[in-house]
Symmetry: C2
Subunit: 193 residues, 2 copies
DNA sequence: GACATATTAGAATATATATTCTAGTATATA
DNA sequence: TATATACTAGAATATATATTCTAATATGTC
């Protein structure tokens, strides 16, 4: 019932993603998003309550994309694969990579989120959390704050740090990145592996 | 010649630093800066051409503060000390730490910088660059892109990554941070040290 | 003490964007 | 074919902040 839609959420999010990767947060104005896909601004607001929510959905989509295979590697107890997932994912998804690694969530979307979006965020956070915790238990035999810290560092923080520098200047990720991540992985897990 | 100043640059920068660390970039409005130190907004503009320039000067001051002892450690060819400088400096300068590690320069100050500020930035960048390069030469016997990459990773990227997570949530830096930085250092430099 | 001027004061203005609002359009359903 | 309504359209509005502007004020110099 009612007229057929010419533009849907996906298109607006794709447009916003492009603008965000190319111009940064300030470039993602509602007019720019509309223009990017040739829609009137009214149609953007027909889909998203606010810019804040549009960016929130974009953010969650990016996080979900990143986490998907990262968690799969963890489930296989393949820590090294999980650590190397970051550069690989970034190579395959350059725009998403920029969003995840160059901006902070609260820089993109600051207001209160609607319940469904908040729920989605909680779900993703919990998935990541339990994924890492069960990996730690597998890996070390038991959970401890220290082991958790080391794992988060090796599987997430270091890979992100290794990649970020290149994304900032828009350079292609060299292979050294993977090499460094690998070295760090073995160093920090030396007692275990 | 003229009346005595009641407010100087330093005070405004200090005020902006506090706001930035507490509220993020959006909290650093010109009115807020003025209010922070009880000055009229006209006096802020009397000292700084624009918000952009105020933030540029703040940024350079923070970078300079960070680099000072970092470079000293490098000059002593003390790579480990240089790597550990990040968590130590952040503990000693929490507000500056947040600014340097949580925000990107172009997020704070986007416009064209006046010549003197640009010159200052170039000077700092060159100092860091030559400091690292001469350290690499000392350390490895010769300069190479690969050795430079490894060094930047170990001395800067990894320490920053280890610290960032805690700054984001306003937590005190635990000792694990130093431990992890140390482990990574030895791992990546294993052929050398 | 008078003058020149660096500085304080803060109200007024400019500008950029998010958001709202009203009108028109196309399609599913009856 | 009539009707309800999801959607398109984009002009008008609201709002937040940076910036400008004009008028005082105090202090060093003559």
């Amino acid at each position: 019932m009612g007229r057929k839609a010419r533009y849907d959420k996906k298109q607006f999010i794709r447009g916003a993603l492009k603008l965000l990767a190319e111009l940064g947060p300030a470039g993602v104005t509602m007019n720019a998003v509309a223009e990017e896909i040739g829609a009137p601004i009214g149609s953007v607001y027909h889909r998203f309550v606010s810019r804040d929510v549009l960016l929130a959905e974009l953010w969650l989509q990016v996080v979900e994309s990143f986490q998907k295979n990262f968690l799969k590697a963890l489930e296989r107890s393949d820590g090294l694969e999980a650590a190397l997932h970051t550069p690989r994912w970034v190579r395959a998804h350059p725009k998403e990579g920029k969003v995840l690694l160059l901006y902070r969530r609260d820089e993109l979307s600051r207001g209160e989120w609607p319940d469904d979006i908040k729920a989605h965020a909680v779900k993703l956070a919990e998935e990541l959390n339990t994924g890492i915790r069960s990996f730690v238990t597998q890996m070390f035999g038991r959970m401890s704050r220290r082991n958790l810290n080391r794992t988060v560092f090796v599987l997430i923080d270091v890979p992100h740090a290794a990649v970020r520098r290149y994304l900032e200047v828009g350079a292609i990720l060299p292979d050294v990145v993977d090499e460094l991540i690998r070295d760090t992985y073995h160093a920090v897990y030396k007692e275990v592996v």
